[in-house]
């Protein structure tokens, strides 16, 4: 059952103070499926994504990642938070790519990529370096391993960040608006890497404003507004023939 690459959420609730950000969200991503979350800013889509790897805690609801309850253990009448070590272990099977890349600026690109394997999984450094070079080549950055993040363009940094997440050999990849901080001409190179990843059968949950990417790559789309899942369904179907009025209005504005 372990690390099977599935995400299941039922009736997720999350509040920041008195503001309810998630109001009963359902989500289901099968292994190898690509799911895109779209919606206006402030709709709770990033919060939902961050709940899936525990950067935010869930107030109420069921959240099962990789076939097991995430961050909590279910007992007869409550969910109990797991110990930090267990949470870290669960997280290590989930890769995360951030809007602001969040590369470690004190490490070279290659050191960034091997940081997970070496520091968390205690992989032999030499083995990790070989793997890192393969991953950097895979994202089109062969030979850039010695560079520091400050020496790389935004698109290159984001591709290193993807390689860093992949180095942990995750069963699920989460993308939080991975191209929103990029100059328009650099968006394509990151999306190309993500497309490639999708074709290799990675389970992906992507918060994005790139409707073209969603249409071409996603299996399913979840449209969120005001902390609620307004519409959920086959990606091309939702984009071409949205059933809900709010989805129609949103798509008219962004397309």
């Amino acid at each position: 059952m372990k690390a099977d690459g599935t995400i299941v959420a039922r009736q997720l609730h999350k509040s920041f103070g008195s503001h309810e950000v998630l109001r009963g969200i359902d989500l289901s991503v099968a292994a190898g499926e690509i799911s895109c979350i779209i919606g206006p800013s402030g709709s709770g889509k990033s919060t939902l994504l961050r709940c899936v790897n525990g950067l935010e805690t869930v107030d109420r609801g069921v959240l099962r990642v990789n076939g097991e309850d995430f961050g909590y253990v279910e007992t007869d009448n409550a969910y109990h938070a797991v110990r930090p070590q267990r949470l870290a272990e669960q997280r290590s099977h989930i890769g995360m790519v951030f809007q602001q890349f969040n590369l470690f600026p004190n490490m070279t690109a290659e050191d960034n990529v091997i940081s997970g394997p070496v520091l968390v999984k205690k992989v032999n450094r030499k083995v990790a370096r070989e793997q890192a070079q393969k991953l950097l080549a895979q994202v089109g950055l062969a030979g850039c391993g010695h560079k520091y993040p400050a020496q790389l363009s935004g698109g290159q940094q984001q591709r290193v960040a993807i390689a860093r997440a992949l180095a942990m050999e995750p069963s699920i990849m989460l993308f939080d608006e991975p191209t929103s901080a990029l100059d328009p001409e650099l968006v394509g190179e990151v999306l190309a890497v993500m497309r490639d990843l999708a074709h290799h059968g990675m389970t992906m949950l992507v918060v994005t404003h790139e409707m073209g990417f969603a249409r071409d790559v996603a299996d399913e789309i979840l449209f969120m507004d005001g902390g609620v899942a307004i519409e959920r369904g086959d990606a091309r179907e939702v984009l071409a023939n949205p059933r809900e009025k709010r989805t129609q209005e949103f798509l008219e504005r962004v397309l």
């Binding site: 790897n53 525990g54 950067l55 930090p84 070590q85 870290a88 272990e89 669960q90 997280r91 290590s92 989930i94 890769g95 995360m96 951030f98 602001q100 969040n102 590369l103 470690f104 600026p105 004190n106 490490m107 070279t108 050191d111 091997i114 940081s115 997970g116 070496v118 520091l119 968390v120 450094r125 010695h146 560079k147 520091y148 993040p149 400050a150 020496q151 960040a161 860093r164 997440a165 942990m168």
Partner: protein, 306 residues
């Protein structure tokens, strides 16, 4: 003569520069020369007076420059600096961690400490610690709820040297706490999240991701503190600790050669602070590597930071 005046304008080829090829020249202004003249006058005047004024007694300066008691004082100044910096930084680290605590009583305690020790003059603090026995003449060191305890005579314990180290350390800790806290505050929240998302433990995250990034903010500030501390140690001369200034004072108390001996002390302070600024700028360069854009060659040969 006549051929020259007639011939030259026509015979010399006039360079035909296109407007876009012409150099742009900014003329030097009078103030550029005036500033130089003023600076030269001031420095020249100072040099002349120091050389010609007999009262400087340069021979006396040179004869005491390497006197044994001066050198002993020099060593004690360095010992005081190192001891209070090391102890102050360690205590400052503890205070910084307390200050960043989410538990209000813990951070409140640290805040109280920092406010008090930064809000009162070091000189007053030093004299206070020297006279602490007036407040607590006898302190009993022991394990609570047992009979094991040793009475301590505070008056005997608080020698001038102990008072100096305690006073300088406690004061320094307050400043170091704020510097260290500032270093941590300079690290972006996303760095914690990125480390968490890779499944790093709290310690690994701190050791390999966060602390290295706090260094560019902490190291230069700490370097300034070291240089400041070196000079601050001269304050403990009022307690009678025979550091550099006090050693100079002891000599001129006997010989009345006040100025030359103050020059001796000042020259040594100057030499030491200048010597300290060299490693400081080196360390600064080393730690600011990630924020600047280093030359690719230099980076390629550097060992891995991990």
């Amino acid at each position: 003569m006549s051929t020259k005046t007639i011939g030259s304008p026509t015979s010399r080829p006039v360079p035909e520069l296109l407007p876009e090829q012409k150099k742009r020249i900014t003329p030097k202004r009078p103030r550029d020369y005036v500033s130089w003249a003023v600076a030269v006058a001031i420095v020249g005047g100072l040099v002349t007076t120091t050389v010609t004024n007999e009262n400087y007694q340069w021979p006396v300066v040179f004869s005491y420059f390497t006197a044994q008691s001066i050198l002993d004082g020099l060593v004690l100044t360095l010992v005081l600096t190192v001891a209070s910096m090391v102890l102050g930084t360690l205590l400052g680290l503890v205070l910084a961690v307390m200050r960043m605590s989410h538990q209000a009583p813990i951070s409140g305690l640290a805040r109280l400490y920092i406010t008090f020790f930064r809000g009162t003059p070091v000189l007053v603090q030093l004299i206070f610690w020297f006279n602490i026995a007036a407040l607590y003449p006898n302190v009993s060191l022991g394990i609570p709820f047992t009979d094991i305890s040793t009475p301590v005579d505070v008056n005997a314990l608080m020698t001038p040297l102990t008072a100096a180290i305690v006073g300088l350390t406690l004061n320094q800790a307050a400043y170091m706490a704020e510097i260290i806290r500032g270093g941590f505050a300079s690290v972006n929240r996303g760095q914690y999240e990125a480390a968490d998302s890779l499944g790093m433990s709290g310690f690994t995250r701190l050791r390999h991701v966060i602390i290295p990034q706090t260094m560019p903010a902490i190291i230069p500030a700490t370097g300034n503190q070291v240089i400041g501390m070196l000079k601050e140690t001269s304050l403990v001369s009022v307690l009678g600790v025979a550091e550099l200034l006090n050693s100079a004072q002891s000599i001129y108390a006997r010989t009345y050669q006040t100025i030359p001996l103050l020059i001796v002390a000042s020259l040594w302070y100057l030499i030491m602070t200048m010597a300290l600024s060299v490693p400081q700028s080196m360390i600064e360069r080393r730690f600011s590597r990630s924020t600047r854009r280093p030359a690719p060659v230099a980076v390629a040969t550097k060992e891995s930071l991990l």
